[in-house]
Amino acid sequence: LLQQNWNWNSLLFSRKTDLYEMGWNIGGLRDCLIAAAPYGGPIGKCDKSYVWKSGIVVDIGWTVSDYLLCIQENGTVLIYDILGNYCRHFNMGSESQNSVTEAKVFHSAYRTGVAILTKAYRFSVVTNIDDQKIWRLPDVPGLQTSGLSCWTVISQDRQTKLVLASGRNIYVLDNDSCTSVTVPGLDPDVSSYFHMSASFNYKYLALYTNTGCIWMGTSNLKVPLKYMILKCSYYSCIMVFKISSRCRRPRSQQPSVVLMWDRLLLVAGKNNENDELYLVPELDGVRIIGSKSHEFLHEVPATCEEIFKIASMAPGALLLEAHKEYKKESQKADEYLREIKDQNLLPTAVEQCIEAAGFECEPETQKMLLRAASFGKSFLSNFSPEKFVTMCRELRVLNAVRDYTVGMPLTYVQFSQLTVQVLIDRLVFRRLYPLAIEICKHLKIREFQGVSHVLKHWACFKVQQKDPDEDIAHAINQKLGDTAGISYSEIAAKAYECGRPELAIMLLDFEPQSGEQVPLLLKMKRGQLALNKAIESGDTDLVYTVVMYLKNEMNRRDFFLTLRKHPVALSLYRQFCKHQEQDTLKDLYNQEDDHQELANFYVQESYQEKVEVRVAELQKAVDEYSKARNEFAAKATEEQIKLLKFQRKLQDETDKPYVDHSLHDTVYNLLLEGSHRHAEQLYKDFKIPDKRYWWLKISALAEKNDWEELEKFSKSKKSPIGYLAFVEVFSISEQFNYLIILSFLMSLREVEQAADIAIERKNENDLNLVLSRCNQSTDRSLVERLNKARSGANKK
């Protein structure tokens, strides 16, 4: 009979399910510290008599992510993983030094906290052991005298409070204040409290008084919910507070308390002779741990109750019955089915059966209910199969993890709260990789969160094994292949953490993204390799990161040598130096014997300097150019030095700016100013070609409108640039007058050119002028052309 383990408790049914027989071989639970994590978590046990190396353990507890916390008298909290390996430790502050008397581990969503009480009756709290910020709570007045009877932690909405009882007073303690609270609806005779307990979600609180009463209310101690008097008053008890989490049945919102006195479990009403028990509050019930057995006590869920209650007429119950009859091939099946269908309740019936299956632990019962649901479903046309399928899948998972080899007695409610992700993480922590992978595949979880995630953890575990590097790398690559969402660099980082750099490098080779490889390689001080990878990736930022790292890590010489092997990095670094570290740039060129660049560098440098320094800089450049066998540049630079010196002298003499001008401009300016002597000197000293000098001279003279000088100059020698240049010079000049040009040209006996210009201009006066100078006999054709043009001009 399914109902055999149900108990009636005035208002509701509760039931007890045997989870496991405990295989541990211990004499009893007395003198032990026991801790069990919620959500079917592991159980920790610590013999009080065991002497710890580092100190006396006050209490133990589990974190939400399955780490075991051992709180020692000296305030140190040691953290172990689920397999008993030491992970790390932290301290609860200097005040707790050797004086921790009590400690409590408490949970809230996603985090675990620790509260301690010291000999001096002071409380300290760490609300999240991962960030380890320690809060010292304010003093409670009068604790020293009246003593502390009991206390508990309430952690709600990111706030952590302590509720404590001292004598007949109840205090609420938070980060900065301590308030005394009067509990409403309490017997005035109460003079002290034996015990208090908060519900799993910290919404409710129960107090057990010396008058044998239990007060239950909201955790802010303002609204009383229930008050009951028990006719016994044992001092020592364990009290676990439990609130039914289901909402479908309003009346079971009643809180209930499971109390355990020395040998009496109150709600269960069963007397476990000769046995110590330990209670673990769960979301939807209580786990009872004894030396021989491990049971789960919870309220019978409404659906189960409706289905299995004797003579229940709920649709689910009828459906189940119908299915039973159907199996017996009895026509009664049809009758039951009709009864449901007539009320139009078949969908509800199916849903009830599916839901109830979730609440059952026995696979047989689950199967029975699910078969009934499936049977009912076949009579429905548009019933979404999703619920049914999901339930089947998830139950299969739950049954698998409930197996004693895994040992996670999760209920369906807990599982829904916990989520698959966390379940997988827990399995991974327990190193149950194959199971986790199977579950991921079975539940069709996306690779990234599912299989890849598990494989990654597997690989991280694998690298800690003692096998040879090659084997491990090979095995990992074999299994992981190119699975999406796997980062080899993370695994490699783990390998490095475990002191296996060689393995880490092998693993990094599998990493397809060079960008991911670089940071770890740097951490491993493999700068050269990192540089190669960074350059491969083409990401210049990455290259810079490595270069900057190498710059700090290596001595200058090696650094430069390394850069030299990597032109990409070298050019990047040069760019940086050009702006930030000019001197380094020089060193760099020096190191490379790159005289050409070094010389260029000096030239560049020279025109940022004052004239006095410039010569010195240029001299250096000359040396370097010669070393680079660039005679041309060396000579050019030497000439520049000469020019600079000359310009400086000029500047001193004339007080006019000459420096910063090219040779051409200098000569031009000199000519403009009429210092023909200096211009001549430059012409000779710098071997300025005649062409240039002529051009310079005539354009400067034209600019000055010094026609006399120009004429004199033009007659001094035959022009190496022709005479058209003269015309050009005139047309540029402001004193633009063709008559002047023409007469000038003709004075040079360049009649033909003059004629061309005059013809083009079609100006009668011009033409006449030219004609008058023409020699009728020698320039016959010219005269003809001129005449023709003149008659044309006349017509206009």
């Binding site: 397809p512 993204q513 350059i535 083409g538 990401d539 210049t540 930022d541 990455l542 810079y544 990161t545 900057m548 092997k565 990597h566 032109p567 990409v568 050019s571 990047l572 040069r574 760019q575 940086f576 702006h579 930030q580 050409q596 260029n600 030239v603 560049q604 025109y607 041309f632 540049a633 050019a636 630079t637 000439e639 520049q640 020019l643 001008h661 090219s662 040779l663 051409h664 710098f686 300025i688 070609p689 062409k691 240039r692 051009w695 640039i721």
Partner: protein, 618 residues
């Protein structure tokens, strides 16, 4: 010559979305710093910013005053300063100085730096070195693309050219690959990718890697083909004088981010006028790709048409007149305004160019391209230098000479160089060193040393670990091979026939029929052959690194491309392209039914190219 597009030419994706996205992101970033703030903009970014978000949009988002960021103390009294900069070390240093000087005077302000298009590690390193890392917040404005027109998208990274091709700095390559990835995630992957050049290959490989690493959610639509082109494959084309209208405008007035500022000389008024040059401008759209000699004829025809349109008024009754005024007049007025602007711009160009003896210059250029009368050209260049006609023009001619002649004979090299130094100053020794490194202006090497160098390079290539080392050598050993290439690809049309500029037979019209641009010819050939088959010799002469790969991403065949989309061609110029090249590609597109979309790191021309390599200080 009028361009008539073929009916089956493909549709162009809407690139204006790129602008909207950029604008939205900038606003978002500005709002990250709530309250009034002053905005400091790096000079480089001013024009691009103007095209994305104008002053009124900025003011709407609580930008108080706008400044140009330079090395001057800040006078702003605002307590929030926002800096919009390229990830340049110099700019970051200036900002650090501002912060530090505020610290000294005890001013307390909030500083935010927005890096565009991305932050570099060095920038943060500099901030840290200057001790202000904690005082500023940094953000990235992922503004990679500025659509200049329907078919031109610019990355506005003029420094790409020098940084990569001269200094071997790859930071922009990575950024470009990232930009490319972003682009294709918006507009679909290409069907086929072609390319030539080392940088092109690198960009392609990085981009591939992004696709592989990225989420598979990328749109699997496939549109068009992609051609990635390194600027250093063809230096000759951008160094030639541009004679197509848009190119000429760029050479003379400098088009900045698709708009040109016409000085008061042109507009015949007191103020300068800023004109947006794109296909929206009906007049410009018809003449932009025309050879300059056709422009005047076209404009006068247009003016006549306009007059006839105006003249319609006569003899209209009241109703017709009303119609005319409400519907046509505004359009006519607009056209009138643009027409007069373009006419005066053309006149100005004519004036400038005749003054500088443009015809003579073109003749020299053409004979250089042709390899004809080299000595004469050299003496022309020499005179050009002696007369100090133009610093960069002279340099340009020198480079053209070296590129077409495969280096200068030692004697000429030295004499021309020293002439140049006498004219423009010794510092140009550095400029010449740069040009030499780029292979733009080199001295001819005696044959033996060259092959010896090549064989060592070959040996080094075999050793993969030092493979990178060879890059430095290969740039030294870069041969231009222009003459051989020109023969192989028939870049120079036969000179004995009269070239018809009104209805040109080929792309050579952009250089008055004297030369088909190498870059565009290569693209044409590769498209025609659907790869490099039969072009092996050409590719070898261009230093290799050519590739042609089918399907840009995984999941080939998932979605059938539209038949037209294979006619859409994205051409990426790494290191910039000229308007002439764009005109040539437009011509090619019309001729063969392709639609070319040009994506370039920047619009360039000969003077921008050479100025970026200039290390002299003038």
């Amino acid at each position: 010559m009028a361009f008539h597009s073929r009916i089956d030419s493909p549709e162009i994706p809407k690139f204006s979305d790129l602008k909207r996205l950029a604008c939205d992101q900038l606003i978002y970033l500005l709002e990250q710093l709530p309250g009034r703030k002053d905005l400091f903009i790096e000079a480089d970014l001013m024009s691009p910013l103007d095209r994305i978000a104008n002053v009124s949009i900025l003011k709407q988002h609580e930008v108080d005053k706008l400044y140009r960021l330079d090395n001057k103390p800040v006078i702003s009294s605002c307590d929030q300063l926002c800096f919009l900069i390229r990830p340049h070390i110099q700019a970051v240093k200036w900002i650090s100085e501002i912060v530090n000087s505020d610290k000294i005077t005890g001013k307390c302000r909030k500083y935010k730096i927005i890096f565009c298009p991305q932050k570099f590690y060095v920038c943060e390193a500099v901030l840290e070195e200057q001790g202000v890392f904690g005082d500023v917040t940094c953000d990235e404005w992922e503004f990679y693309f500025l659509p200049l027109d329907d078919d031109i998208i610019s990355l506005e990274l003029p420094e790409f050219f020098r940084d990569y091709f001269l200094d071997g700095d790859q930071r922009w390559v990575f950024a470009t690959a990232k930009a490319l990835h972003y682009f294709h995630s918006l507009f679909g992957l290409p069907l086929k990718v072609y390319g030539i050049g080392k940088c092109a290959k690198m960009t392609y490989e990085m981009w591939r890697q992004f696709i592989e690493e990225g989420e598979k959610k990328l749109s699997t639509d496939k549109t068009g083909n992609l051609f990635i082109f390194d600027r250093d494959v063809d230096f000759v084309t951008p160094l030639c004088s541009q004679v197509v209208y848009e190119g000429l405008l760029d050479d003379v007035f400098r088009i900045k981010c698709g708009s040109v500022e016409l000085c008061s000389d042109v507009t015949a008024s007191d103020k300068t006028i800023k004109v947006l040059l794109n296909s929206q401008d009906k007049v410009f759209n018809e003449i932009r790709n025309e050879h300059f000699s056709n422009v005047f004829g076209f404009l006068s025809q247009k003016a006549k048409n306009l007059q006839t349109a105006y003249d319609k008024r006569q003899g209209m009754d009241i109703k017709q007149m009303k119609n005319f005024v409400s519907q046509e007049l505004k359009g006519l007025k607009q056209e009138h305004r643009l027409l007069s602007l373009h006419i005066s711009a053309s006149e100005y160009i004519m004036k400038r160019k005749t003054k500088l003896d443009f015809q003579e210059l073109l003749k020299v250029e053409h004979s250089l391209l042709d390899g004809f009368n080299v000595r004469e050209s050299i003496s022309y260049i020499e005179e050009h230098i002696i007369r100090q006609i133009s610093m960069f023009e002279s340099l340009r001619l020198l480079c053209l000479l070296s590129l077409t002649e495969n280096g200068l004979v030692s004697k000429d090299y030295r004499s021309l160089k020293s002439q140049y130094l006498q004219s423009y100053g010794i510092e140009h020794v550095l400029t010449f060193a740069n040009l030499r490194q780029m292979g733009l202006l080199v001295e001819q090497q005696p044959g033996e040393t060259f092959t010896a160098m090549e064989s060592t390079v070959g040996k080094l290539v075999a050793d993969k670990a030092v493979g990178k080392l060879t890059d430095a050598f290969s740039s030294l050993a870069k041969k231009s091979n222009f003459r051989a290439l020109s023969k192989k690809l028939t870049l120079i049309p036969k000179s004995n026939e009269e070239y018809d500029l009104h209805s040109p037979p080929d792309m050579a019209y952009i250089f008055s029929g004297a030369y088909i641009p190498l870059s565009c010819k290569l693209i044409e050939q590769v498209l025609e052959r659907d790869g490099w088959n039969g072009l092996e010799e050409v590719a070898r002469m261009l230093n290799g690194n050519e590739f042609a790969v089918a399907a840009g991403g995984g999941g080939a065949g998932e979605s059938k491309p539209k038949p037209q989309s294979s006619r859409l061609m994205f051409v990426i110029f790494l290191g910039g392209c000229t308007f002439s090249e764009i005109s040539a590609l437009r011509f090619l597109g019309k001729q063969k039914g392709y639609k070319f979309i040009i994506i370039t790191t920047a619009i360039t021309n000969s003077s921008r190219l050479l100025e970026s390599l200039n290390d002299g200080h003038s």
